[in-house]
Symmetry: C2
Subunit: 417 residues, 2 copies
């Protein structure tokens, strides 16, 4: 394979995770150490920063500070949700990208993100090929939603799952201390795929988690739900803990969060306020089951940035995905996304191989929780799901501390001239 | 002091914390090892369990399992919010308590809780004295609110604070990744005292925290607030992060959470839904400042049960408070609450002494954040506050793990006959 010498550009895109910086560090550290790569640049706010020629010079960052990226949550370079048009319809953005690539002699491009970002990366890759501009383009996946096609699991999912599981274990302990009926509903991210909400069932498998778990992979029926809750409360001395994906919907596709929004919930200015699904379910349980002590808890952004509760396995794999992307690109690969393949080592233990696959594979497709991993009643998961997830959440990372608190990276972010 | 031989009873009361079990373990372990204590009992759901004679036999628990209490959140024995009447008005409960104490020959009573629980403990202590029933009664404080009078700080506060600080650091990272105006509001527990919300400012001191912090110790003015937010957004490229105590109120004492509740927020059943203060502020910022990307996050129960993020200092001190209570009681003390006195060791480092004080001292009084630790604008804290809290959150506990998750105690809870 022909040697390609030039600058490397890395960007982050889409919703942040606890470990998207670990992947960025995998790219940056490996690129800085590679003799074929003359310069390492970071795009400010993903593709938006490239269009604006706002690129940070990673060579100017302090080595130690860069290493803190391994444990720093969120997207240190900034992120965006910018959708490129089809280049056949309008290639303005693409021509601008090419201009910036040429200006900085960018020959290696790494884009870290989820479904939409892999689509962006794929489009850029195809355009550069069509333009005959030699540039190796690699996608590095991330998403707490775990919904990327073509990979056993996604960087970022396991750390979010570990936080969800740990928090559910703790909430179960907390919400059952009184001797009267108490219901606790935890709302977990996942609009279309229920991987993260499903992970809460691991807390149950460990003896302290939700009694009922509902995912968008099954149609939600309010009557069945209320009878599930009533049954659990009858069986468990009035206790019931519930985990739900934010995206649960009924058989007509109506989101449960929208139930009753018609009459309801105007804010102080008369605007309709769409509460989350947890607050909707709280209303129904209060009204239909007459339970007064009931709490809805939204894990909100906390679940995607809780780096203090990350999985060491996830961090290591995320770093490895970034590193492997650079090594593969330097070796000649392009137009690929790094995927994880689950295998076992000689002792039968979990092992994860990083394998490049076609970039177009994952773009804009969604992987859902398999129906056979959801129980017949649609209110929990099977042991297969627990077995799938357990190896991914292993290991406690060594987080650098300062003043008793995590020491997160503070980059200088000097713009490249 | 006369030797007193007999059984020991420990109870937990009020809202749980991450370390109230560490105090319980301090009591139980020390009592089990003391030759003057013939038996160790745990009250199911605090004073309610005593009234119902539902006491668990701690001697039957596995030693290893008991030791897990050190890192297990929430009240393992169960809790209650039961208020004893004034015994001069109605002594029915007190006579029943005495009956149960006599039945089990309880000569040592330890009650772990906050303001109300110290009041309960105080009343029981005084009644036993008046009834000439020899029993040594000790209160062991706990509260994430840190509002107990007579102690430098309260067991449970530092761990909740550490979680609040860490989460705010992470939320700051997460909520500032895009290049358009973004506001993030974090709602933190504290109805009357703002200690916990104030702790979020430590995240800011570490370089990644809220720009504005509002406490119930100062009257909240909506116009000043909106102009604070606007100023920060102007200065910081559209970014603004805010932390508020749930109990902030205006100069007339009206809770901000109630603003606009008149017209607003009916649930699907036509009931008024009082959103939290964060959601109220979200509405005002949307309407008055026209910001569209804005998120309110309620830390809810998560902040009081996040044992995975506890302060090792807090755990050690909470255990020490329980242990010291037993040792003091066996040595002859009674009618006392264990308090913390801050001092320094020979090297000038933080040290905390456990000191028994009169039980009536803390009952039903509230300690607020000193006015001089709040800045002039009432939207942040001073360095004094940061200096106060930093020593309390030091140290990462060694949490026993199983399957990559915290291993929390699973007690047998066998009822004593």
């Amino acid at each position: 394979m022909e040697q390609l010498i030039g600058a490397c550009l890395v960007g982050q895109s889409g919703g942040p995770t606890s470990v998207i910086n670990a992947s960025a560090y995998g790219v940056i550290r490996t690129a800085l150490d590679n003799p074929n790569i003359t310069r390492v640049l970071g795009a400010a706010h993903g593709v938006k920063g490239i269009l604006e020629d706002k690129l940070y010079d990673m060579d100017l960052e302090d080595e130690k500070e860069l290493s803190y990226l391994l444990n720093t949550p969120s997207s240190a370079l900034g992120s965006c949700r910018y959708k490129l048009k089809d280049s056949a319809v309008d290639d303005t953005d693409y021509r601008r990208l090419l201009e910036v690539f040429k200006k900085h002699n960018i020959r290696y491009f790494f884009y870290i993100g989820g479904n939409d970002s892999m689509d962006t990366c794929n489009k850029i890759s195809k355009f550069m090929q069509a333009a005959n501009y030699p540039c190796r383009v690699m996608g590095v996946p991330k998403t707490i939603d775990n919904d990327l096609f073509g990979t056993d699991h996604c960087p970022g999912f396991a750390s979010a799952a570990k936080y969800v599981i740990t928090s559910c274990m703790e909430l179960r302990q907390d919400s059952t201390v009184y001797d009267y009926p108490t219901v606790c509903i935890v709302e977990i991210m996942g609009r279309h795929a229920g991987w993260l909400a499903a992970s809460s069932a691991v807390a149950t498998a460990m003896g302290s988690g939700p009694d009922l778990v509902y995912l968008p992979e099954r149609d939600f029926d309010m009557d069945s739900f209320l009878s599930d809750v009533k049954r659990v409360m009858d069986e468990k001395n009035g206790e019931c803990m519930i985990a739900v994906s934010e995206g649960i919907h009924d058989k007509d596709g109506v989101f449960i969060a929208e139930y009753g929004a018609a009459e309801a919930a105007l804010d102080s200015f008369g605007h309709k306020q769409l509460g989350g699904v947890a607050s909707t379910l709280v209303s129904f349980i209060k009204e239909k089951l007459g339970v007064s002590k009931i709490r809805g808890i939204e894990l909100s952004l906390l679940q995607r940035c809780a780096a203090h509760c990350a999985s060491a396995t996830d961090i290591n794999e995320s770093f490895a995905a970034g590193r492997a992307a650079v090594n593969a690109a330097v070796a000649g690969e392009t137009d690929k996304m790094m995927t994880f393949r689950r295998t076992t080592d000689e002792n039968g233990n979990y092992r994860c191989d990083v394998v490049p696959e076609n970039l177009s594979l994952a773009a804009n497709t969604e992987k859902k929780v398999p129906q056979e991993w959801i129980n017949a009643e649609g209110n929990g998961v099977t042991q297969q799901f627990v077995d799938y997830i357990l190896p991914l959440i292993q290991g406690t990372p060594e987080i650098p501390m300062e003043n008793g608190l995590p020491r997160y990276a503070r980059l200088k972010k000097v713009l490249a001239d």
